[in-house]
């Protein structure tokens, strides 16, 4: 396992500003999702990714458009980073007919298949073998595609994680396992139930995967790690494991205030907000306030419009409950 300390290399202002805009779009969408949950427009539950933006945007920007992405129930950032619009995401949360999944999936299952964002999975760790299978398929079809599975620190203690890593390694599959280590499961710190310090990276050698621990709040560092991993994968050299250290700004889900996290710890990480880090670097690169404010204004408008769009959309049609179980569109199981 290598811990990449190297300052993330130079990146030009224009592309960094673009990454910043994408991260900001996610942040503002998550804020909107939280507000709508509070106002009762979003039912069920949500797991917001505010704080994790650099992982999604850094990784996504390192991938080909046709690469496969698999996310968890905490997956809004990955859906948006792969091109889902804030409007169709929010509509899904608000049980609207225009939702990404026609309001049949909900917050935990955002999916944008036409962009090869192949789903958000709510059984911890279950998608890791599935992502390996997509990579196996890409290998067999010779497409050069890579599959990326994003998962949490808590997923590293479940059996499917081990099975997926071994299969990916022994079959040399073009898959990248990206752990978003935010140091907590739901309310319990990962270190209290895990035998090693780096829950993901310290497990890689057991299945002969190269591993990197990266600053998950540094969008450029994540981007570069994924570029390296994708190169290995496309060159036929098999899977890579990346552990990106980050932090969630909201609680685990719904209205959880996250009181189980020490204040100083929270403060430390708020200091290291990925948006702030990127803004600072943009400053160093000579991007002035006006440019930033222009971006911020346009993102704010996009999300405002998205909320309006979602609120105004028609509710999901109850009849949809009986469609699309089978490939023929029906849900008939007997004569």
């Amino acid at each position: 396992m290598t811990v990449s300390t190297e300052q993330s290399a130079a990146v030009d202002a224009a592309s960094l500003l673009d990454l910043y805009q994408q991260m900001l779009l996610i942040r503002e969408t998550e804020k909107a999702a939280f507000d709508q949950f509070m106002s009762g427009k979003v039912k069920g539950t949500t797991h917001l990714a505010a704080g994790h933006e650099a992982v999604a945007v850094g990784a996504s920007s390192a991938l080909r458009d046709d690469d496969y992405v698999f996310a968890t129930y905490r997956g809004h950032h990955h859906a948006i980073a792969r091109g889902a619009s804030p409007g169709e995401c929010l509509a899904e949360l608000m049980s609207k007919a225009t939702g990404l999944c026609k309001a049949k999936g909900g917050s935990m299952h955002l999916t944008k298949a036409d962009h090869n964002m192949l789903g958000s999975y709510a059984i911890v760790g279950a998608h890791l073998p599935i992502a390996a299978g997509a990579a196996w398929s890409a290998k067999l079809r010779g497409t050069g595609q890579v599959a990326v599975a994003f998962f949490g620190d808590g997923a590293t203690n479940i059996g499917a994680f081990h099975e997926a890593l071994n299969l990916a390694s022994v079959w040399k599959l073009p898959v990248i396992f990206v752990c978003e280590n935010n140091f907590y499961m739901e309310y319990t710190p990962i270190r209290s139930v895990t035998s090693v310090a780096h829950p993901a990276a310290d497990r890689a050698s057991a299945n002969a995967l190269p591993a990197e621990v990266v600053d998950g709040n540094d969008v450029v560092a994540v981007h570069e790690a994924v570029v390296r991993a994708a190169e290995r994968a496309r060159a036929g050299n098999g899977p890579t494991l990346i552990e990106a250290e980050t932090y969630r700004h909201y609680g685990h889900s719904r209205t959880d205030p996250g009181k189980y996290r020490p204040e100083d710890e929270v403060a430390y990480w708020m200091e290291r907000d990925p948006l702030r880090i990127t803004r600072d670097r943009l400053g160093e690169l000579g991007v002035d306030r006006d440019a930033l404010e222009a971006v911020e204004a346009s993102v704010a408008k996009t999300v405002r419009d998205a909320v309006e769009e979602a609120l105004g959309a028609p509710d999901a049609d109850p009849a949809e409950a009986f469609t699309d179980m089978w490939a023929d569109g029906s849900a008939t199981w007997r004569t």
């Binding site: 808590g154 059996g159 409950a321």
Partner: protein, 326 residues
């Protein structure tokens, strides 16, 4: 009259009572300690009993239930929590192949006195992987006792029986009932496993219900009373042991049976119950036997769609009306 208790608080109360009387009772599960459980059903246990009896686990359902099994085989009475019943699928080998078979296949050498508690059922908009009523999954496997209480007092009384049982018990706590209130359990309250109860007597139609569908059936019975249809509601309480006798006796009086179950129609437990009545109760029947169960699709996220799929008071009222008119 004592204050009402919530179903949610009854869970921790029921566990605490047994932990007080028996030092061999230990709890393990995800976030059950300091956090008091994600459904707040283990609040206070860590404080009262300490870290040697209340263990937070990693997200390792196989290790949780497997370790509980090993501990149960060696002198403890573990109470393992699987956070959502949907995740029983992640440790199903233990529920299907290990725990229920151990005693039998060793010729009676070993007993496995454990409880697997889990939050079951839908109606909360948690979507396809966090809303299922899966009591039928474990009902397919002989060798497990299956408890699913419908009210706070039964939660306490059946928890006592489950933890004291020398046989493995899967204990379903219904998510939709956590906030519901009822009479608190008297001290030393014990409800034996396998005894159904007539929750409401009636003469025209028998409804067999379990857990969440009991309040549903009672609400339907109220509405039907208005049009002079008298409904008898049987709360099965357990699927194993299954108190078929109480249902057969009730149908003997009403000659009409409706089974209301939250799990899907295909492979739902109601099928087994109906098959018993269609055989042993055949001569008492004056009408077809009907089932109101979840439709055979995954559970959709949107409330309006989920209501289409799972049993509702309207669906029960309608089904009873048609049976009574038959």
């Amino acid at each position: 009259m004592a204050d009402l208790s919530t179903y949610r608080d009854a869970v921790s109360e029921g566990i605490a009572r047994e932990m007080r009387r028996d030092p061999d009772v230990v709890c393990l599960g995800e976030d059950i300690g300091a956090a008091g459980g994600v459904f707040k059903t283990t609040v206070g246990l860590l404080d009262e009993f300490g870290p040697n009896r209340v263990w937070d686990t990693p997200i390792s359902e196989q290790a949780i239930v497997g370790a509980a099994m090993g501990a149960a085989m060696t002198g403890l009475r573990p109470v393992a929590e699987i956070m959502f019943s949907d995740f029983l699928a992640c440790c199903y080998d233990y529920l299907a192949n290990e725990i229920p078979k151990m005693r039998y296949m060793t010729g009676g050498q070993v007993t496995v006195p454990l409880v697997v508690r889990t939050a079951n059922g839908g109606g909360l908009g948690f979507g396809a992987q966090h809303s299922q009523a899966v009591e039928n999954w474990v009902f397919t496997v002989p060798g497990l006792k299956i408890a699913a209480p419908s009210n706070p007092a039964d939660v306490v009384g059946m928890m006592a029986s489950a933890i004291r049982s020398d046989d493995p018990v899967v204990f379903f706590e219904h998510k939709g009932l956590f906030a519901s209130k009822g009479e608190p359990a008297p001290s030393d309250h014990v409800v034996p496993l396998g005894e159904a109860v007539v929750a409401r007597p009636g003469s025209d139609v028998t409804i067999a219900a379990l857990a969440s569908t009991v309040p549903l059936a009672l609400a339907a019975a109220d509405r039907l009373a208005a049009d002079d249809i008298s409904v008898e509601v049987v709360d099965l309480r357990c699927l194993v042991p299954l108190d078929a006798r109480t249902v057969l006796d009730s149908v003997g009086r009403t000659s009409r049976l409706l089974v209301v179950e939250e799990n899907p129609f295909q492979g739902g437990w109601g099928g087994t119950l109906v098959s018993i009545v269609a055989d042993e109760g055949f001569e008492t029947l004056d009408a077809p036997i009907r089932r109101v169960a979840a439709d055979c699709v995954p559970l959709p996220f949107a409330d309006a769609l989920e209501d289409e799929v799972i049993p509702t008071v309207d669906k029960v009222v309608d089904a009873v009306r048609r049976l009574a008119a038959y």
